[in-house]
Structures are given as structure tokens and as C-alpha cells.
Symmetry: D2
């Protein structure tokens, strides 16, 4: 059992409900079943460079199952292979991977469990190729990682988005408005698609289906004609108009801070109001979607992934991450993730089902 003696856990990238549930599950199982020591690395890869760790005893991971965020902290920017440092006004990037590898070696762990999204897992894969025994646990509210049917955090994000849209329904109805709700999804439209179906959104716009503004406005007008004097538009932040609908891009361009302002939602709203003559309001759900308490679904999923990760440590399946396939958990090479995001495929059944109950995708 020598090699199993000690493991480390690291959480990288954006916030995601359920991270602590994974940490808890990895640590509890490792301690209870295999009598391992568990050490947490602080603030993602930053903690490896700066040697910031904390021991995770059984009681340290008790009571964190429902806690949002990550008790280990995270960092979006720290990358051992391109470590940023500020020089006056500009940022310089250096390869500090040797520091990282040395520090990991000094930690003396049998395995490093990396919980993160594509960025974190990509670095994990490089560390693995440089000799570090690594197991990955995929994490993203966007549900767009390759090699897994679903990621923890997604159900929570969809729930928050859906609740938001639910409550905006009555405002839209009372005021006879078009209500635009911008949800997360820069590359993939999973959140918009699921929250759109779950909330009965009238229009759902996702990056994978460039939209024709005329079709969107047509839907708004058609509803008005039928006596439905409000329309709910669910739009992913990465949704794109088809060529020729340049108004949106122009509005976004004029904004001083296009991305932070949740450009698409406001720009789209302005355009719909102009073309339809119907009052339009926009709400950008933003960080609310990655905050707060994970849903029970995500807690169960996260717990299962953590258990599987420990099994993989025991079986020395380094260089792999835990994946979900149907009802089962499986092992997926970390390289799989690097092949790019898992977009909503054009033959996704839920798109067809949504269309068949009347949802407009703007195409």
C-alpha cells in the first residue's frame, strides 16, 4: 500500500456547484477505505507553484457537500507552462513547469486529482506526459466537455436559469413584453437549450444554430396575433446572428465592455424592440448560474465521480479522467478533452422535441 499513501486534490478554473462534493467524496473514500492521507492544493495550479497546501482530514471535508464554490480556492490564470507575472503594465508568461514538477515530486503523492474544465484538464494532461500521476474529474456548468455525457454543475446551472425564467414569465405577461434572458454558454448552447425547454421558452438561441433576426421577430409577432402578448427569449451568451444581421454586432462593438456587459442579450433586445415595436427587457443571469448550492442531482453525480476517481487511483489509471456514459461511469483519456468543446449536435433529439412543441430556434 506504499504507493497509495498520499494523494493531492486540486481545483481549477471557474466556479461550479458540486466541486466540494467531489473533494469530499474523494477524500472520505480515500481515508475510510484506503487509509490514505489527503492534501488539498490551494488556488489551483497557483498552489503548486507557491507550495500552498492544506491537509484534508476527515472532518475537514464533513459538512461541505452542499457548499457552493471550492474550499480549496481556484485560479483562472495560473498555468505552470505559461505562468503569468506582471512587469509594469504588461503581463509576461514564463514556463515554470520545472518548479511545478519539483514541487509535486516533493509532495510525495501517489496521485494528483485535478478537478477542472478543459483548461485545467489540458494542463493536467501535460503534467501527466511530464511524468505526474494524474486523474482528472471533468467540471463545467456548460456541459460541453468531450468524453462525458454530462458534467456536474450543469443541472444546477440549468435549475438557476430555469427558476429565473420562470419568475420573469409573470413580468412579461403583465407588461406584454418581450423578455430576453441571457444565459451562459459561450461555445455550446446546452444551458440555453435545457433551460429553454424546462421553462417553456418561446425562442431559444444557441451558438450552434445561428439565428435569423427576422425569424425571431416573426415569432414575436405571430404570438401577438394569437393573443399571447408576451414572448420569452432564452439566449446563450455565445449565440450568433446569421450573416447580414449585423445590427447586433454593431451595438456590441459600440459598447465599452462588450463581453462583460453580456452584449448579446441587450443588443438583441434593442433590435427586437426596434423591429417589432414591442417593449423588450433583458436580464443577464451571469454568475448566478455558477453560484450557490448544488442540486441533489449534482451532489449525487459529484459524489459518484469522486468515488470513481479513487478507484482509478487504486488501479493506477493515470492520464485518464472519469466520464459518464449513459448510466455508467467510465475512463476517458485526458487527451480526449483537448479535442475541443462538445457542442449541441444538429441531430440532438431535444432540439427536435423542442421544435415539435413550438419552440423557435431562430432558423
Amino acid at each position: 500500500m506504499e504507493t497509495k499513501g498520499k494523494i493531492a486534490i486540486l481545483t481549477g478554473g471557474g466556479d461550479c456547484p458540486g466541486i466540494n462534493a467531489v473533494i469530499r467524496s474523494v477524500a472520505k473514500k480515500a481515508i475510510l477505505e484506503y487509509d490514505m492521507e489527503v492534501v488539498g492544493i490551494k488556488d489551483g495550479y497557483e498552489g503548486i507553484i507557491t507550495s500552498c497546501y492544506k491537509d484534508l482530514h476527515f472532518d475537514d471535508v464533513s459538512g461541505i457537500l452542499t457548499l457552493g464554490g471550492t474550499i480549496l480556492g481556484t485560479s483562472n490564470t495560473a498555468n505552470p507552462y505559461q505562468y503569468p507575472s506582471r512587469r509594469g503594465n504588461r503581463t509576461e508568461f514564463n514556463d515554470l513547469s520545472q518548479v511545478a514538477l519539483t514541487n509535486i515530486a516533493n509532495l510525495g503523492v501517489a496521485c494528483l486529482v485535478c478537478i477542472g474544465g478543459d483548461g485545467t484538464l489540458d494542463i493536467a494532461n501535460r503534467l501527466f506526459r511530464d511524468g505526474v500521476p494524474i486523474i482528472g474529474v471533468p467540471k463545467t456548468i456548460d456541459n460541453d466537455l468531450r468524453g462525458t455525457d454530462i458534467t456536474f454543475g450543469f443541472d444546477s446551472a440549468v435549475s438557476i436559469a430555469t427558476e429565473g425564467i420562470d419568475s420573469l414569465h409573470t413580468t412579461a405577461q403583465s407588461h406584454h413584453r418581450v423578455m430576453i434572458v441571457e444565459v451562459m454558454g459561450r461555445n455550446a448552447g446546452w444551458i440555453a437549450l435545457y433551460a429553454g425547454v424546462a421553462s417553456g421558452g418561446d425562442v431559444v438561441l444557441i451558438p450552434e444554430i445561428p439565428y435569423d433576426i427576422e425569424k425571431v421577430v416573426g415569432k414575436v409577432k405571430e404570438r401577438n396575433r394569437r393573443g399571447k402578448r408576451f414572448t420569452i427569449v432564452v439566449v446563450a451568451e455565445g449565440a450568433k446572428p446569421k450573416d447580414g444581421n449585423v445590427v447586433v454586432q454593431r451595438v456590441i462593438k459600440k459598447s465599452p465592455e462588450p463581453i462583460r456587459l453580456g452584449g448579446i442579450g441587450f443588443a438583441l433586445g434593442a433590435e427586437i424592440e426596434k423591429l417589432s415595436g414591442i417593449e423588450t427587457r433583458t436580464v443577464v443571469l451571469g454568475h448566478l448560474q455558477r453560484s450557490g448550492v448544488p442540486t441533489p442531482f449534482d451532489r449525487v453525480l459529484a459524489t459518484r465521480l469522486g468515488c470513481k476517481a479513487v478507484e482509478m487511483i487504486i488501479n493506477q489509471r493515470f492520464g485518464y479522467m472519469v466520464g459518464v456514459k449513459g448510466n455508467s461511469l467510465n475512463e476517458v483519456p485526458l487527451e480526449e478533452v483537448a479535442k475541443g468543446p462538445r457542442n449541441v449536435p444538429s441531430d440532438e433529439p431535444l432540439i427536435q422535441e423542442a421544435r415539435s412543441v413550438g419552440t423557435c430556434f431562430g432558423d
Copy 2:
């Protein structure tokens, strides 16, 4: 398209979040894609015997996606093959199936969509064998129907149970108590298992694993020794002590209304308190679990099942119900359901995973 002209929908058995989402999806797709007429049957099979129907136009099923319960009403008792009627103090059962068959024939529908649990689907199967074109949609918060991996309503029930347990945590902690939470599950322990894992329950008792009260009390005491002065016990209403632990049964037996009183939770609490000397309180979640707004997960699932049911109508797959297999929907003979409940199997991975993070199943 003659045969597709008109369909009927019926909802039977107990309440379950998501029923209206199925009704909406069946009706919207049938109307929008196939220009069908849709009629709703009131109060389950009762409405067939009494010819109580209402037309479901597109607008009748708008805005019901989030609504708990069923807009059609339901009945637990009406069964055309054993129709109950009161004679003074006692109830007599008569076979009114000929009335039912005649009324259905008079309705002139191409298909009757039956949304219900084992009881409802068993009657649906008999009607099918008697010549009625029927499609089933499985419905139960208990998740214990054969032929489908998951049922809508289950995620909602687990969510409500989990939220309840979450909030009771602080009470248990402050008062150094054992807190018993009794959840639904007369035959199958799915809700207790999932809510138990999702809420980090210390002890989870399900019908499939008869418990040894000594093991349960042992867990309570062990936690106390380790400084954890509270314990959360999640118990399915159908959980059973092993032979020899007759105290519980005795307490239940003395109660004037054993089943309604949520016998097991209170009896178990009394016994734990007696054997451990630690204050114990019981909460029975009861009908809260089948009430209220469905989770987004259940709304999406219910919408998908409804769409699939319409496809099956078009393909004349009568005598089948919609099932879920991994990520796909499939068609399952109604007879499959009659083979009895789908219990938690002894090799269920989630049980092993729960054990590995420290959950006690009382065995």
C-alpha cells in the same frame, strides 16, 4: 390521416410533479405537428365510466409546464374492471369494463394515452388486450417501475426530500440530536437512497436492506464518540427491521392508524432514543414529496416522454409505454410493468459508493 384524427389523455394514480408537462407536450405536438384533436379524460378511469371529458386546445395546455398536480384530475380507486360502489357501510366491486369499452369507442379516438403508475398501466394493459389502442407513459415519484431507468417526478421528490434533510441538519447539530427523516418508498428505497446520498445522511434505511437496530444505534454512538453529536437518519417508509427487532413492529401495531402515521419513522425514533439515550426527533415529509413545481430535470424528461408518446401514436405502437434506457427513449411492452416493482438491486453502484464515503445502511 383518418386514424390520427383524435386522441385522448388520461392521468391516473397518485400525484407526481411533471404530469402536466407530459399532457402539454403530448397535446402541443399532436396539435402542431399532426393537426390532431386532443381530449382530456377527467379524474382517471372515473372519467371514462362517467363520460367526463374536456377538449384540450393549444391554449389550454399553455402555461401548465410548471404546474404541479394534473389539470385533468385523477382518481386512485376507479378501475373499470373492479369499479367500487358503496352499499351502506361496505364497498362492492363490479366489472364495468363493457361500459368503459363502449364509452371509449364512442369517443372515437385513435389512441388513449395513459399517464400513470403500475396500477394505472396494468388497467391500461387490460384495456389494450380488450381492443383499445393505448400508449402508456410511466409515472411515479418512487422510480420503481420496470422497463424504464428513471421516471419523471423522481428528481422532484428527491429534491424536496433533500432540501428537507438539508434544513434539518442545523437543528440536529444545535440540539445534538438524532434526526429521523421519513421519506416515501413503500416497496423501493430509491428516494431514500438518492436523497440520503445527496444530503450526506449518516444512516440510510431502505426496504431492500432490512436493518439491524443495533447497527444503527452503533453508528449513532460511534459518531458521538468522534465528537459528532448529531446523526441524520433517512428512512424509507417501507424500511424493515431484521427478524428479532420486533420493538418497532410492536410500536407500530399499537398505533391506531399505523400507515398514515408514518409508523416507521416515529417507532424507529423511539427505539433509537431508548437504546442510545440520545434525544431523537422524527419528521415525516409525506405528501410534500409529491407536491409542487417539478424540477427542470423532470420538466425536460416529461416533455421528452410526451413527444415520444406522440411518435408512438403515429407509428401505432399500441400496448407499449415509453421507457428511458441510458440517454435514449425506447418502447416497452405494458406487460413489463406488471411484473412487479423495480427495487434497488443489491449491486446498485450508488449503495457501494455511499458505503465508501461512510454511509451506514444498518446491515
Copy 3:
């Protein structure tokens, strides 16, 4: 009882949780206790100009207690004294008050109950002076109406804002960020103050206390020094920097749509990030705050106000609105409302209390 025969209800201005609870309470009491007829006017003053009404029977107002929005619809713009109409590209305003007065006279109601904010109640007061028997019910989520200690909708808005801030806490903590949450309150800071205290916000910025950006950044830095690597800033949309802090205004000015974009939150975030060097993110809660199900507190309050309004009808207290004073309801001249918003006074106890537990108001 001749004069009591028939009453009308109108809802004007922005959405506010609890409006339907008032409608229900007015209608139920008027029908049950005084056998009145109740008619609802559609879409605020618009419905008076266009004679759009609907009868409100007892069953029409059953089941609406928990419903957000208003079943009567509303309009922000319709004003009989300055009725807007479009002429090509511009909007013209005409005095249609004679039309309104005639239509109201034709309705033959003993009283018109106007549920609305300062705009709606100001028009109500003019109609009253022009001879219409009117009772007002104050309505605003902002809690800034004169003549009443509290308005329904406020508790709901504070609840939604607080829940949002609660859930952003973990994101801020995990990422060591400053998290800015912009809440409603263009003139008055009540929502920011209450939600800020309820959520333990570190900085609360309200219109009544112009802020010094240096003080805000100082608080952020001081927390960092003390090891608290995150800061929650709750900012009312109408918060203003002191003279000299023009950066914020400049950023807002550059924006193509300053007001809709929730300018202050993003601009403030950009400035804090620049001055403190700490990553900052902004969430604008926007319309979420006026949407959805009213809190039990607001439902009780709205019910009480509706009952009082009916008493006032019976007592012919026209030209007055219902007000809240301590634990009692009282009658307030409609003119009182016109005297301008009720701002947070400088000696508001809650400000002192918040300061004493460490909240920074930026001054």
C-alpha cells in the same frame, strides 16, 4: 347600498409581487361582505381610454394569491392627461382626460381602486380632483412612497436580492474576487440597504449616501490584508460617486445604452478592479427583483391593504390611499404621495446598525 353596487380595480406602473393578492382581497371582501359587483380595468389607464374591462367574479380571483404580476395587465405609459400617440417617428401627447372621465362615468362604479406607484397615484389624484371617487393602494418594490412605512413587494424584492447575494458569496470566496451586485433603487436605497444587511454585504452603496471610491477600495484592501480575500459590494442602481470621482460617469456615458445596461454596477466594477488590482465581477439582478411569487409577508400585507381599501370604499374615504403606520393601517391623502419619494433618512437606525457590525457605506 345603491352606491356600493359596483367597484372597479386598476393596476398601473411596474410589476410588483403581491398585486394579485390585493386584487383578490378587494374583490373577495367586496363580494362576500357587501355583495358588490367588481370589474377589472385592463392594462392600467389604457383600459379606461379604450374601455377594456373584465368582470371579476369570486372564482376569477381564486388561486391568484401566489401569482406574480397582475392578472389585469398594466401599462407604464398610458396617462389620460398626457396620452401618448405615435406620429411617424415621434410621440405626441394629448389630454384625453374627458374621454377617461366619460368612460368612468359610464362604468357606473361607486369607486375606482387604483393600485400603483407614485405615477399611477398621481394620476389617480388628478382624476379624484376631477370628480372620480378613488381609493389608492400604494405599490412599489422600492419602498419609497410617502405616507406609508412599507409597501408590499418590497419584502419580495429584498428576498430575491438577498438570495442572489447569498449564492454569489461562494463564487467570490473561491475566486478571491470582488463581487458587485447591482440592485434596484433609482432614487431610494431601501432595497440595497435591507438586502445588504440581510446578506452581510461588506459595502453597501445607496443614492442617499454619495460614495468615495477611495473608501470603497480601502475596504476591499483592508479585507484582503485581514485574510478575507473577497468582498461583496451591494450597489443600488441610483448610487452616485461623490464629486471628483468622474470615472464611473465617463464609463457610463460611453455606453450605448447607459440605463438599461445597469451602468453603475459594471462601471463601478471596472473602477474597483483598476484601483485595487483585484479581480471584480458584476451581476445586475434587474427584473428578477420584481418577478415571481410574493413572499408570505407580502401576501399578508397585500391582503390586509385590500381589506382596508374596501372599508374605505364603504366609508367613502375617496382621495385617500391605504398606508401602513407601525402595526396599523391608516388613511393617507393621495396628495401626500406627490410630494416626492421617501428616501432613506440620514438617521435611519438600520444604517447605524449596519455600520456598527462593520458595513461600509463608502462615505
Copy 4:
């Protein structure tokens, strides 16, 4: 400032959302404004007898604002004047007040802040008369303490009860059932009254108004006749039938554990079902009502009470508790509380208002 040097906080009696918010507010203000030391006494008066304390530094009370329960623990039974100890099978009570007084003296605190209900504050008053400088903070979800218009925890309890009743509405509707919801309130009906009004309960039964079962059944039947095939009955656990309606008492008496079983709800349900012939179900909300996260309203109130308590320490207003009077906080002699519970008075306006919108109180 010698005398202000150190204060202690103690929490006694049942759980109540908002206790931690009071602890936080007392400690933060005492530390920030007066540079005091704060010590927490563990498990109520138990901790005084056993000398179990923990220091409360600023960071210890950070992040506890939203936490249910009490971080100090509590005890229902420990009373220095009648301290229970077990002798074999029976419990003996001894006067250990000298031990308590000595231990408090040894603590060397300028004041002991007692957060608790009537029991806790009664003991606090005795300690005060025995020379301990004490300030009380009233605490009960039941809202039935004399000397204060409202207590923190009440709004949270009403919210949980109301949400429960809200969600049971759809079940009642779908099944055409009478749904009984038993809420807390052994002596006073405040929770039942407020939650009943907030949720639109059809029947509300409170201890202060003994009910006539015939009136209750009459209401159920009348609703049925009017086509409303469901009825919601909100019943306080202490509700009592009028003389002569002994059936309920008989059923309760037969039960092996009358109080724990939430006797009244089930017994009432059985009787209504028998007399009306309509299916009836009961849900006992029990401990859910005192669990979980406090509402924003309660967090603000609790924060204010804590601040006031510190002011009272500074002003040496020992022997008093903080009270709420209208919009203000005031000082109330601890003796006031001992005069018995504050019941719902017969002229409570909310009762009249509830009646006027159709609520039946069973009288």
C-alpha cells in the same frame, strides 16, 4: 471601560432561524465599537454548569448570518435552579444555582446576553435577581412572547409553512381532497394564522378559537357544492375542538405517542373524512419550521436586536430584554415575559380580515 471588557452569550431552548444572526451582531458590534472580548457559552445553561465556553473572535462570527441553528449549541433541559440528573430510571432535579453563579462570577463578564424563549428568559430573570448582569433577546418561532410585537424566527417559520401549504395545493386539487397541514403553535396560533392567510387556507384552526367540527365539515361541503373539490385546512398543533367534539380527543388518546405524532392533524383528518365522506390527507410540518436558513426579514430583525442588546449593555440596562414596538426597538423588563404567552387576541385585525375574504375559523 473596565466593566465593558468582556461579555458572554448564551442560547437556550428550541431551534429558531436567526439565532446566529443575533450572535454575530452582538459580537461584531461589541468587538468593533467597544473593543470587548466575547465568549460563547456552550449548550445553553448546561455550559454554565459545566464551564464549557469558547471565545468568539471576529472571524468566528463571520459567515454565520445565514446559518440555521446556533453555533453555540443549546439545551432544552438544563436549568441551574432545577438541574436534572438521572438516577437509574428516574430523573432527579437539584438546585445548582450556586454553581452557576460562581461560574459566571469566575467568567468575569460585564454582562451575560441570553437569547431564548420564555423558559430561557425566565431563568435569566432569576439569575438577574440573584445578581447576574443580564440582557435578554427574545427568541421563538411561535411569536408568542409578551413585551414584543414580533420575534425573529417567526417570519422564517411562516415562510416554510406557507411554502409547504402552497405546494400541497396542487395535490389537493388533483385528488379532490381535504388536505390538513399541521403547523407549530401549542399555545398560540400566530403561525397558523399568518401562514393560513398567506397561503389562502380555506380553514384555519388556532388554539385561541376552539372549533366546532360541524362548522369545519360544513365549509368542506359548501366548497364541494360550489365546485371547489378540495379544501386546505391549516391547523395549529394546539388547536382544540369545542366541548362535545370528543372524537378527536379519543383518537389522540388511543395513540401510543400523542404529542410526537402530531396528534391533532391526523385525528382531525380522520374525523373530517368520516363526517364529509371526502378523502383527507394530513401533513405535519414539524421541525421543518424551525430549521434552515432565516429569511432576509429575520436576518435584519436579528441583526437589529443584537445591536440594541449591545447598546443596552453599554447603558447597563440589566434585567431587561430587547423588544419590538411598531417600527422601534425598546426595553422590556424580563419579568414581563414570565406573565405567560402572548396569544392571538380575539380582536386581532388579521382574523377579521381573513374572515372577510372567506376564511373559516371553525367557530
